[in-house]
């Protein structure tokens, strides 16, 4: 304690403590609070953007081995676990969804209707469709819904008794899946458009809306529309 008798040494000690605390704060902010899912950029390509995404039943990594999730194929052709997609403004986006998850019931059947796409239709395995009945067939696995664009596309599920289900993400097309294609037009101005799924697919969370439904990077994200 003798070394702390001079005000100068006490001052330096206080500064050192303050420095450590500031370091902890900065580490907390930038290493933790600011860390987010990566943005996948599709705005550099010319012409219509072809977006390839897949929805999987269980993402085989990280602290959430059993969470459902969306993945996207980046322009380089690699599957990325991200739900933040950067798109050019005022452009047609052609989306192809490989849907590997089994289907079920919607909490609100309104989301069985397809809206906001070109012609208000989507092709399920090549077949043009306007409405998907969640209580018929395999049911709906997930939905792709962008509230501010009025976009809603239910993703028809695979059979729960499928012979060859995908076991680990990213899935390959050799596993059982449905292919849903649709196109939409991005708005002319820049903006962040949130999107989410409306199937209660957060299994074993109350009302099915916790877990992957309540976390960016799994069942919800942003379309970042930027001027091309």
């Amino acid at each position: 304690m003798k070394m702390f008798e001079k005000p100068l040494t006490r001052g330096l000690a206080v500064l050192a403590v303050a420095g450590v605390l500031a370091g902890v704060c900065l580490w907390g902010i930038f290493g933790f609070l600011r860390s987010s899912v990566p943005t996948v950029d599709f705005s550099k390509t010319a012409g219509p953007v072809n977006l390839r995404v897949q929805t999987v039943a269980a993402l085989g990594f990280g602290p959430h081995p059993t969470w459902v999730s969306y993945l996207v194929k980046d322009p380089a052709g690699a599957w990325v676990h991200s739900t933040i997609w950067q798109l050019p403004a005022d452009r047609q986006i052609n989306v192809t969804v490989e849907e590997y998850d089994s289907g079920g019931a919607l909490r609100n059947n309104l989301w069985g209707g397809i809206t906001g796409t070109l012609d208000s239709q989507a092709a399920i395995n090549g077949q043009s469709t306007a409405v998907v009945d969640p209580s018929a067939g395999n049911g709906i696995a997930h939905t792709f819904n962008v509230p501010d664009l009025g976009l809603n596309v239910p993703l028809y599920g695979i059979s729960s008794k499928a012979k060859n289900p995908c076991s680990a993400a990213p899935c390959s097309t050799s596993s059982d899946h449905n292919t849903i294609t649709f196109s939409f037009h991005t708005p002319p101005g820049a903006g962040n458009y949130r999107w989410q799924c409306f199937i209660p697919c957060g299994l074993s969370y109350l009302y099915g809306n916790g877990g992957p439904m309540g976390a960016i990077g799994f069942m919800s994200g942003f379309l970042k529309v930027v001027p091309a």
Partner: protein
């Protein structure tokens, strides 16, 4: 009551001076007992090790119980393991601090070898210590750490709100930060006066040598670091999305971070109950001879009414948290409507605690300000009985207003006029406080010191906070204001503008008493001016933001509100700098270059100033006999407050003024 308790626990009397055979100190021949393993060292390091072991043990039990639940295997999170881990970790923490040694030795029929009150020197501030003055200082430092952490989180909130649509943190992290800020502030504000000032000053002000239950007092403090760590650890588990109100069923649905909310708030609830209980018993039982209820300082009245609220309201919170914990771990359905529960149940239980809680945050502010006013007005307090009636009235009414938080909820719509009435009735006793404040200022001889500035700032801020509350109590006007930034501005005016201004004023006023060192007055003045200006500049526009249609806790908002929000954010950063000024003053004046304070720098009549600063281990040389009330300023023939006065007769006090010297 005038029993000399200098040999009871709670004193730093060196062992050599103890009378053998007196309570707590057995003669060497009869000492039997055990000590905690000393290899790990005493105090905090050992407590950390025990806490880690406790956490692992609890986690293991939780896995043993619940790992097979389909809910656990499907969701990938075992809430039972996390909550049990936190609880056993807390037990390990307090056990490692030495809290459990005494009860365990007593239970096994032995005596404790080394009573914890024996420790002296700076190390005692890091140990389980039974001296109320040490606990008071521990609380003060602890609560300031809470306040600064939660304050930084507030700045993070304002950073996100700089832009209506572009995101610094994004919706998920933003909601986590909002919840952390709110919960940490609420946990801290509950204890911020009762902990530091209540523990330190109440015995000094009533002429006692200690608190009634020194071990509970120390325990109540040592639970707060545990709650702090548990709450912060929530961020590592993904945070909680519910804000501090924890509304079910969202809190049942939420992920693992919610378990930290349950555990941290539960641990803090125990701490609050114990602290309140201790103060109530102390004030009732340990007053010095002559300290009648009429002579009891207003500060003690305020802290005691607050403590009654803490003891009576907080168990309801604890019960609600227990239900929430069960819903989350073993799938009971207290809050699930389809299985016989109700989403209204949590709202009712929470606000049955939560509304008294907001008065737990208001009363101590009244108490501090009314205690300081007579000293700086050099006048007796105006209508002391009205002040006390005001505080008692607010406390009693606070139990009958909780459903005004639920005016729009659809519950008991026909009861709304009643809750509107009870809520508005609270303005009457609150008005008493303003009557007393203004009556004391009437024709006073005001000395505008730094504490007095904070007191005046308190009155202005609390006035706006209180008046905005009237708009919220009126059901039609509340329809727009409810759940918006208007509410948020309202309670920041009462809590930050009220309680925190009173707390800072109290620190400037009593730190010389607690440490014998003075805060720098010039820096203090700038601290006040900056805080007052930027506080109002931050929160006044938020009333408008709310009324113009911005709900609380949103990460996106209407573009037309960006100017106001940016103004608020920039003001908030400047408010942060104002508080940094305080931290600099505190560190500079207390640690780096301390200036010895005069014995009675404010020339107060108060009993707490009739002993040395800081007070000796036993507080007073002997138990004082109270001769008069504490506020008899301007009465030439007034007796001093106690017969200890030889130390601080007006002459001696004046002489002490010019004896400022560096330690």
């Amino acid at each position: 009551m005038a029993v000399d308790m200098s040999n009871a626990v709670g004193l730093d009397v060196p062992a050599a001076e103890q009378v053998p055979g007196s309570p707590g100190e057995l003669p060497p021949g009869r000492r039997r007992g055990f000590r905690l393993p000393s290899a790990l060292g005493p105090g905090i390091p050992r407590a950390l090790v025990f806490a880690a072991l406790g956490y692992l043990f609890g986690h293991w039990i939780g896995n043993l119980i619940a790992a097979g639940y389909s809910q656990v295997t499907n969701s990938g999170s075992n809430n039972a393991a996390i909550i049990l881990g936190y609880l056993f970790g807390t037990v390990g923490w307090i056990g490692g601090m030495g809290v459990l040694t005494y009860p365990l030795t007593k239970m096994t029929g032995r005596e404790e070898l080394l009573a914890p009150q024996r420790s002296v020197g700076p190390g005692r501030y890091f140990r389980y210590t039974l001296d109320h003055k040490v606990v008071g200082i521990q609380y003060m430092v602890g609560m300031i750490v809470y306040f600064l952490t939660a304050g930084l989180l507030a700045l993070a909130i304002r950073t996100e709100l700089l832009s209506p649509t572009n995101h610094v943190f994004g919706p998920g992290v933003y909601i986590e930060v909002v919840g952390e800020h709110g919960t940490m502030m609420m946990m801290m504000m509950t204890s911020v006066i009762v902990g530091p000032f209540g523990n330190f000053l109440v015995p000094l002000m009533i002429g006692a040598r200690r608190m009634a239950f020194p071990r509970l007092e120390a325990l109540s403090f040592w639970l707060t670091p545990a709650a702090y760590i548990i709450l912060l650890s929530s961020l590592w588990l993904g945070g909680f999305p519910t804000g501090w109100t924890g509304y079910a069923p969202l809190s049942v649905q939420a992920g693992r971070g919610m378990d930290a909310y349950v555990a941290a708030f539960g641990v803090m609830a125990i701490s609050i109950i114990l602290a309140g209980f201790n103060i109530v018993v102390t004030v009732i039982n340990l007053r010095a001879p002559g300290m009648t209820w009429g002579r009891l300082p207003v500060f003690v009245w305020g802290v005691m009414t607050t403590s009654f609220l803490m003891v009576l309201a907080t168990p309801v919170l604890f019960g609600a948290l227990y239900m929430l914990g069960l819903d989350r771990t073993i799938q009971t359905s207290f809050f699930t409507d389809t299985l016989g529960g109700s989403s209204y149940l949590w709202e009712n239980l929470f606000w049955f605690f939560g509304h008294p809680e907001v008065y737990i945050l208001a009363l101590p502010g009244f108490a501090i300000v009314l205690e300081m006013l007579p000293v700086f007005c050099r006048k007796p307090i105006f209508a002391q009985k009205v002040a006390i009636a005001g505080m008692v009235g607010v406390s009693a009414l606070s139990f009958f207003v909780w459903q005004h938080h639920l005016f729009d909820s659809g519950i008991n719509p026909d009861m709304r006029p009643l809750f509107m009435l009870t809520t508005e009735l609270i303005s009457i006793p609150t008005g008493f406080i303003f009557l007393v404040g203004m009556g004391t200022l009437w024709k006073a001889r005001i000395r505008l010191t730094v504490p007095m500035m904070f007191a005046m700032g308190f009155f202005f801020n609390f006035l706006l906070g209180g008046i905005s509350g009237v708009f919220l109590s009126d059901v039609p006007a509340d329809t727009t204001a409810h759940g918006t930034f208007f509410v948020m501005a309202h309670f920041h005016y009462t809590i930050m503008g009220g309680l925190i201004f009173a707390f800072f004023g109290g620190l400037y006023y009593w730190l010389p008493k607690m440490t014998g060192r003075s805060m720098n007055h010039r820096l203090g003045k700038w601290n006040f001016i900056a805080m007052f200006v930027f506080f109002n500049s931050t929160f006044l526009p938020l009333f408008a933001v709310g009324e113009l249609g911005q709900p609380r806790r949103v990460f996106e908002y209407a573009k037309r509100l960006q100017t106001l929000n940016d103004w608020v954010s920039i003001s908030a950063f400047l408010l942060g700098f104002a508080i940094l000024l305080f931290v600099i003053n505190l560190v500079w004046s207390m640690i780096i270059k301390p200036v010895r304070s005069p014995e009675n720098p404010w020339h107060s009549r108060g009993l707490e100033w009739q002993t040395t600063s800081p007070p000796p281990p036993g507080n007073f040389d002997r138990i004082p006999i109270i001769l008069a009330g504490p506020y008899e300023y301007g009465k030439p023939d007034a007796l001093p407050m106690s017969d200890l006065v030889s130390r601080t007769s007006p002459v001696a006090a004046a002489a002490a003024t010019d004896s400022e010297r560096t330690i």
